[in-house]
Subunit: 377 residues, 2 copies
């Protein structure tokens, strides 16, 4: 149950091949995704190597082969504290499978263990880099409100609305995930070094790009599909008529996930994109976290993960995590080894479960000791 | 075709009875409306006088009989420069008939002739008295945009959004109608004396209440149904969660007329009612006059009056008014008697038609002479 570190994993042919293939194709390459889905990553890589992939991308992929070095990628990622998560892993966030052939080949993840649990109840909060103080205020308040209600906030780690969203949810001790448009080891924007450090401690930083990759315009656009896919719904806080945030909203819509927009003054160009989303694209108008939860809590596209009516957060937990939850004291803090004894599980399994329970806001810690979180409404 | 002055009209039994009945009942009294619809106003009045109205309101209506004095009402209205308009009159705005039994018994009107033409393409712009500078700005801009597009702005003559709407449309030479919750001869709020003077010169002030009536809370609420009924749709510019403007929106919705709301900062309590209208009541979000015209121009509930596609404003004109339009010079100003000769109509008919054409922004005048208005888009 513990997170396996990347160096051990690259020996697996599927993992190894995925790392190479992610060097040969750009994010969102549905042709590559389709091949991998149909043949499996090792077979696709083998065909590319031997010039047998029946695709007019064959030459393009093959030309990039020489730039692929799995050992270097694994080493760069490890130095950045990142682990590898691939489809089929326990912590693979299955909701991104809704992207179909555009599903990421892999995710480099740095931060708390349990990306699946961390993003089980997640909302994307996105918006303009060049936002107004109003937008920054609303993003932070909404993110805090989502955190208070046990929701994880997913965003892009950019200046403006993204940063306000990450900071807002962290300010109330909530969980957050930043999805990058560059390598997991690249700090972009550079000024967000400490922000990303905080995000790793309160959730995770995620990237599907090979380590060392630079951000590019197309990568931002494809990155947005991962933000939209990880979350139950996407809220655009401030956006001009043409903006990356509206691109994320478009991805959410294509995934049949709710698109929401925060209104603002009609005199503000940074609210014009939000108003157009409501007016023309049928986005729901939301004014606070409660409005958002009303929508994603009941109408999330990912029906199997929905929280309806009387369902409680731990209805979604796997048996092991539930066992750890039941072993947690209600009113005092207990050290992990004591919890492990009560639960009858090994310490590393308990630690992973505790992280998952913390992300789901079912457990809370103080000085390394744990108890159940107070009941929520 | 000319507006007949009130003193001449009160001799008509229907008109006389309606004036009396409007003293016996409050606006929006659907029981009274139903009786009048079924029996005619003279018969209803006769039955009340003789104690024969089979209604448990009989005693209530009869007790008020002694306060009714048609001569006094007609005199007060005449001194306020008002005329009487009743159902069946040429200038009766037939769209208010959609109110059914809640249709006003009569309307006292002061201002330009042709209330029917004046309100043929009308939008209600309403909102909070205690509005913000933002709301005032947006109301004025939206009203000006509607005026520029040949739409009449209907509102309630109150402080705040109402006043900004009236002023905004008048600032571009457009038409406006103020519907009062008091007698046509009562200036409320008193500080709006000069505003109402300007409204009369650019459109009309309208009231269904007997002259001398004081404004009361219930009268404001029933007045709102007339605002909603005169217009093709109602726009709420700024409103708190509980507000009179939302009451007007409710009336519009009950009439199956579009309800629109202007967004604002989610941090502003005076926008909260607008956001709730969009979120919960399904109001359309509108940011400017163009958004409004998109909705009322194509989706107005009053299908027979709709302007669709290539229809031009004068498609709605009656044959006499169209004849006057065709007699108007295109490039020079002509005096009314010259236009009357060309059209082959009497001078008073021509004057009424000119007022109607002016309200429809098809004719324009300078120093008492007239020409066609420049083409619009």
């Amino acid at each position: 149950m513990t997170a396996v570190r990347a160096p051990d994993r690259a020996a697996d042919p599927d993992v190894h091949s995925r790392i190479v293939l992610s060097r040969l194709s750009e994010p969102g390459d549905e042709e590559m995704g389709g091949w991998v889905e149909n043949l499996g990553a090792p077979e696709v890589l083998g065909r590319i190597r031997t010039g047998r992939l029946a695709s007019n991308m064959q030459a393009h992929y093959r030309a990039r082969l020489e730039s692929a070095d799995v050992e270097v990628d694994v080493d760069l990622a490890a130095r950045a504290g990142a682990r590898l998560v691939v489809p089929g892993d326990d912590e693979w966030p299955v909701q991104v499978d809704d992207l179909g052939a555009a599903r990421p080949l892999l995710l480099w993840v740095s931060g708390l263990p349990g990306l699946d649990v961390l993003t089980r109840r997640a909302v994307a909060l996105v918006g303009a880099r060049a936002c107004t103080p109003y937008g920054e205020h609303v993003a932070a308040e909404m993110a805090a409100g989502l955190g208070d209600r046990g929701w994880t906030v997913v965003s892009g780690g950019a200046y403006g609305i993204d940063a306000a969203a990450h900071r807002g949810v962290m300010a109330v001790g909530g969980s957050t995930v930043a999805v990058l448009a560059c390598g997991i080891d690249v700090v972009y924007p550079a000024a967000h070094d400490s922000l990303f450090g905080a995000v790793r401690a309160s959730g995770a930083v995620v990237s599907e790009l090979p380590p060392g990759s630079r951000p590019m315009r197309t990568r931002f656009l494809h990155r947005n599909r991962v933000i939209a896919a990880l979350a139950r719904g996407t809220v655009v806080v401030e956006a001009a008529i043409r903006s990356g945030a509206r691109n994320t909203a478009g991805h959410a819509d294509a995934l049949s996930r709710p698109v929401m927009a925060v209104p603002g003054p009609v005199t503000s160009v940074t609210s014009a994109g939000c108003h157009e989303l409501v007016r023309v694209a049928g986005a729901a108008l939301v004014t606070d976290a409660s409005d958002v939860v009303d929508i994603v809590g009941d109408l999330g596209a990912d029906g199997s993960l929905e929280r309806r009516g009387e369902r409680r957060p731990h209805d979604d937990l796997d048996p092991t995590t539930l066992r750890v939850l039941e072993a947690l004291p209600l009113r005092r803090y207990a050290p992990p080894d004591s919890i492990a004894r009560v639960a009858g599980l090994d310490a590393s399994t308990v630690l992973r479960a505790l992280a998952a329970l913390s992300a789901a806001r079912l457990a809370t810690s103080r000085e390394g000791a744990w108890r159940r979180a107070p009941a929520q409404h």
